[in-house]
Amino acid sequence: MKAPDVAYARPRTLDEALALLAEHGEAAQPLAGGQSLVTSLNMRLAAPGLLVDLNGLPELTGIAEAGGVIRIGAMTRHRDLAASPLVAERLPLIAAAVPHIAHPAIRNRGTIGGSVALADPAAELPACCLALRASFVIRGLTGERRVAADDFFLGLFETAIGPGEILVAIEIPVPGADAVSGFDELARRHGDYALVGLAAQGRRDGVGLGDLRLVFFGVGDRPVLAGNAAAAVAAGGVKAAQDALAADIDPADDVAVRGATRRHLARVLLGRVLGRMTGEA
């Protein structure tokens, strides 16, 4: 199908972009990599009056470390995450996740900002950001605010980014020297959205794992922090965590698979990832 009629602007500065969004209100929509938005336009699932293209904004690019925080510009493409030595060294969780996102040509255009702003519940990067305790830098005409990952993902395709606001960057506290992460997902075909996925971040604590954040994706309306399972690891190991997981997730039946199947797959995935992280595998 073909996209509906729409206007287009490519602002040169962030302020100009924000002014356009303010002026056109609900009708205006930011365009990042377009790998989800243009799809929706072509399928006529979205019909904005104005596309505000973020591709010309220097304020939204770059990956840099300063003051114990790694700041990733919202327009950083999946491809650039994969190619970044800083990400490979400091954020192995993200480095492990990126190859699972779609296919090379889509990773060449799609951005981390677009991925978290879209908040597809089966997407990899929102889960990684939640596991890594990221903070989201959001700019509006009246100024800038930061939202913690725990308060950012509000529901199905819903985030804390308000109307007229633009996500500028994602800030991630640099994991310590004793940090350990794990990532895996199950999909019917490599590159498809996951049936179930798990992003895990913690630190080595003697023979066990401390400060463990287990974030499942594909099992709810947003990335789900499995607090019971994480607590159970410390108390009783992998098996205990798998048993406790039932209290954390409650996937619904859908056209792809039954909820019970997803629940089972999540349990299997948890065993695999924790096994690798603790060396028990």
């Binding site: 009629d5 729409v6 799809t39 190859p99 296919h103 090379p104 889509i106 590159g191």
Partner: protein, 176 residues
Amino acid sequence: MENEQRIGFTLNGERVRARVAARQHLGDLLRLEFGLTGVHLGCEHGVCGACTIRVDGRAVRACLMLAVQADGAAVETIEGLTESGEIADLQDAFHRRNALQCGYCTPGMLVTAAELLAETPRPSREAIREAVGGNYCRCTGYHAIVDAIAATAETRIAATAEARVAASVEPAEAGR
């Protein structure tokens, strides 16, 4: 901020201009305005890969980029890549190994394969499968495609090694 805009870009090495509607994707512009029908359209939502072309040196889905976004960019289609001879060896390997039947997936498959080989000179069969997994082929069953890409990688590595030997001999000869 209009529904129609004038753009200028490099298309297969030539400067071109066009007046485009913002709603038009790049695939349609290339096919309808420039007659580059090697840009195949299957799904128009990023899934099939038939429309994969090269923009600023990178493989992208022509159906997921707006034509207006090509302003100032360097766009290459299968027609340009064929004419320049850049992927002649890959095309030859596809031909020899029967890696195409109806040919619908082929232009996108070639652009994808060319990028893989540029970044990973000797990809494993697994890596080749992963790369072309984003391009649907409903005819070949993929084995011949994987073979053709793997064979091209080997040929190129052998050619580079030969060139290196030749280069290391030459300066010594010249120095005599």
